[in-house]
Amino acid sequence: MAHASLSKFRSGWITQVRVIHALMIRELTTRYGRDNIGFLWIMVEPLLFAGLVALIWHFMYGETKHGVGITAFIVTGYIPITLFRHGVARSVAIFTANSSILYHRQVKILDFIVVRLLIELLGGMMAFVFIAGVLMVFDQFPVPTDIGLTIAGWMIYAFFSFSICLIIAPLSEMSEVVEKFVPVTTYVMIPFSGLFTLAEWLTPTMREYLMWSPFVSGMEMLRKGIWGDQITAYYYPWYTISCSVVATMIGLVLCRRVRRTLAVD
């Protein structure tokens, strides 16, 4: 019995990996085509976003802020927020948009969200490596002191973003109101994402409030891994992970409910 369910799980797993692989290729060819640089476009959006905003800040506020290079600081903040905002924006009505593919039974609605986030994740990472490499040549980006911590922070941030997408996607199918509130909400939350500030620059009371935002811990870890002893970071990874787990649970339940009533034409 246990053996049978294990092999069932295994074959289901293999199928899902194949489906996700096929969906990723499909998504990349529909969105970016095969012309010119092709799928490399996935990193262009975050690259331009982070690069241009960093440039503006560089000329508006000077080279450094609290002893930290401003260009590098903004780049490290914008890549994660792009992941979150694009992930959420693309999760809206994602099931209806892809419904023709649901004709194939092995394609599950969760696959769509996983694929979306994986693409944003890869694009963000490629953009990050590229931009950091270029900036290092011009001595505008420090050599990371603890790359593991940076990756851990990025992963926690991505996990939380994923769990929010899992909730937004089914909610947007249940009510059209959600769709209208998503852009403004993701915009208003920018200051609470730890993008523009390090927790150490804040007053203790403000810091206490900001740490309630699950994004901040991921952001702080990511930056601590890059600047090391130059900055003091405040982070509670288990807090962010717990929030993500709870949001994932809620999201999975909602997805299951929505799938039952989803009309596919």
């Binding site: 199928t15 194949r18 489906v19 692989h21 096929a22 290729i25 499909r26 060819t29 529909t30 419904s99 023709s100 593919i101 649901l102 004709y103 194939h104 039974r105 092995q106 394609v107 799938r259 039952r260 009533t261 989803l262 009309a263 596919v264 034409d265």
Partner: protein, 215 residues
């Protein structure tokens, strides 16, 4: 074998709701050719979608003990912005088939030629039907779910479909929604008539068609 027990489907939109059918019980044995009969809107396509696992029943259960195709119909199954070849590649990947074999079969069977390099959204419904049939025949399912489209397309293609599906694969199972009573009489051995939310199974196709004609 496919076993449907106590299937009901209700669509909700806002405060209004529509019950398509309730309490449908159905057993499809291997080799059966089941005709789904009913007037427009009776729920034939809905039942096919439920059996294909595209939509979920509001209540009831479906057990599939053989490989079942996706519903072959006018809509669904393809990504419109991708070309015929890209769709074939996608389908080969998710059904774990060798793309080169699928491609060769599709080129030969569909006779779409250069059109396969065009996005599927530029296809006519007849061309879509060709592609869908070609792909599903290349994958080889135990049971084919066919929603109307068997009579789509020109004479030549219709004949080809009937040959490949109804003669070459005559031991396969088929569930066929159709308004074409001659076809149903000739090829099906069972019928399910859906009317006013209720489904009645007939072992004698002739009498099912008679009842359907009198509706």
């Amino acid at each position: 074998m496919i076993v449907c027990s106590n299937l009901s489907k209700t669509y909700k939109h806002g405060s209004s709701q529509k019950q398509v059918f309730s309490n449908v019980n159905l057993v499809v044995e291997p080799g059966d050719r089941l005709a789904l009969l009913g007037r427009n809107g009776a729920g034939k396509s809905t039942l096919i979608k439920l059996i294909g696992g595209v939509e979920m029943p509001t209540s009831g259960k479906i057990a599939r003990k053989m490989s079942v195709s996706w519903p072959l119909g006018f809509a669904g199954g393809f990504q419109g912005s991708l070309t015929g070849y890209d769709n074939a590649r996608f389908i080969a990947r998710i059904y774990r088939r060798e793309y080169s074999e699928i491609r060769a079969f599709v080129e030969d069977f569909s006779e779409l030629g250069r059109q396969l390099r065009m996005p599927v959204k530029t296809y006519s419904s007849g061309m879509r039907a060709r592609l869908a049939f070609a792909l599903s025949l290349a994958i080889e399912f135990d049971c084919y779910l066919i929603d109307e489209i068997i009579l789509v397309g020109d004479q030549n293609f219709s004949r080809k479909c009937q040959y490949e599906l109804l003669e070459q694969r005559k031991n396969r199972t088929m569930i066929l929604a159709s308004h074409s009573t001659p076809l149903v009489r000739e090829f099906c051995n069972k019928a399910l008539l859906i009317h006013n939310g209720e489904a009645t199974e007939y072992d004698d196709v002739g009498s099912a068609v008679d009842v359907y004609d009198s509706l």
